[in-house]
Symmetry: C2
DNA sequence: CGTACCTTGAACCGGCCGGTTCAAATATTT
DNA sequence: AAATATTTGAACCGGCCGGTTCAAGGTACG
């Protein structure tokens, strides 16, 4: 008899749970920041977009800066999980490495060019000088974690003689570079959607090069 | 009429030439935008930084938006030239391709991580959704031009059987990706300076991989 | 010297924004 | 249902900002 909420949606405003409301605010904040930029966003608009009163925001999340920080932290968890799950195929590669690498590459690219992820990088890049700790944290739980996890996968593959490298950190870094590097121009810095077919082509090219550099040497 | 105040024959180091002043404003604007972001910058501060009165800015450059556009366009010319000149070593490679590629890679990286270039990319990325034409123009005269020029160089090398590829666009794209991709994390999105030794190491790794993928096949 | 153009500083304007206050309305707990 | 906590809308405040105006100097040039 405590957590009983969610009465039928009447004609009036629907009541949301506390956690729900906080999430709604953070999502609205992220959308607004992503659309207008941090400096050009105003709290009133965020409140409107979250269907919430302005004082509510200040009550629950303090000032605009912490609102920004929290919205960014919430967004990165979303996207990082998706990137990590993209590494799954590397856990069970077939007799040929290529399909697993291509599948992983394609899924990494999809996660990389999705709306939310692009906006996150844009905002982070824009405000990085003003929020250095935020940058540090987001890179740690985002890109760095993915790169480390990929290095782990590659290490197991190298151990099983499926790859040829002594420096899995480097291999991981370069695999990601081959994937995401080309997207900067192709996606116009994240402002233009990229067709899945194009992603697949970039992933294939990346895997080609990666395998030529790190693929198993044919025994002579 | 008599539109003759600062004839093109200027260039005197007088108190301040008219053309000089415009440049001073644009440079001050770029510094300020880079430091505070577009939305958080105010014209008054730009005027102070340029040692110029506020109305002078509005007289000569219109409103804040065009000021931003002009400052960005001026900055990209600066940096793109430097990147293009980095391709020079590829014009006269020795008997081994590696040194020329490494020198080019290192110089590209130096240009890529320099203060001005990083700030330019940060600002462009931040405001890309609000200034789509600016994004288009800067990418055209910036990154795209470098990638095309590099593809030209690679084409000549491939023709001379110094490289093995049928798709120089792809090779160019991947070479640049191998160079700049790793810098995102290492330079903390352009907010942290990177030691020259680290640049050299990244360039070497990039060339290693590039040559394994595109290097001349050993005959026999 | 005179004139015609700029630049300068300062003041000004309208407007928006971050953040707070407050009383009324709503939701939640007991 | 009474009591308590929260939300809401609206108004408010101080302040800054983009952009303009204006009078008082420069400065170049005939």
């Amino acid at each position: 008899m405590s957590r009983a909420k969610t009465p039928e949606a009447g004609g009036r405003g629907e009541p949301r749970g506390h956690a729900d409301k906080r999430r709604a605010i953070l999502e609205a904040a992220f959308r607004t920041f992503a659309r207008d930029g941090y400096g050009q966003s105003c709290v009133r608009e965020i409140a409107d977009e979250a269907a919430v009163a302005k004082p509510t925001i200040y009550n629950r999340l303090g000032d605009k800066e912490t609102l920004f920080r929290e919205a960014m932290k919430a967004a990165v968890e979303h996207t990082a999980d998706r990137s990590l799950s993209a590494l799954e195929p590397l856990r069970t590669p077939g007799d040929d490495m290529r399909p697993a690498l291509e599948e992983t590459g394609l899924r990494l690219l999809r996660s990389h060019v999705c709306q939310e992820s692009q906006a996150l990088r844009r905002l982070l890049s824009a405000e990085a000088p003003r929020f250095p700790e935020l940058l540090e944290e987001i890179q740690r739980v985002g890109a760095q974690r993915v790169q480390d996890a990929l290095a782990d996968r590659l290490a197991r593959l190298a151990l099983a003689k499926r790859l040829e490298t002594t420096d899995v950190e480097r291999a991981s870094e370069q695999f990601l570079a081959l994937l995401t590097g080309p997207m900067e121009l192709r996606s116009a810095l994240g402002t233009r959607p990229v067709a899945d077919e194009e992603l697949r082509s970039v992933a294939e090219a990346a895997v080609d090069t990666f395998l030529l550099a790190y693929g198993p040497r044919d025994p002579g």
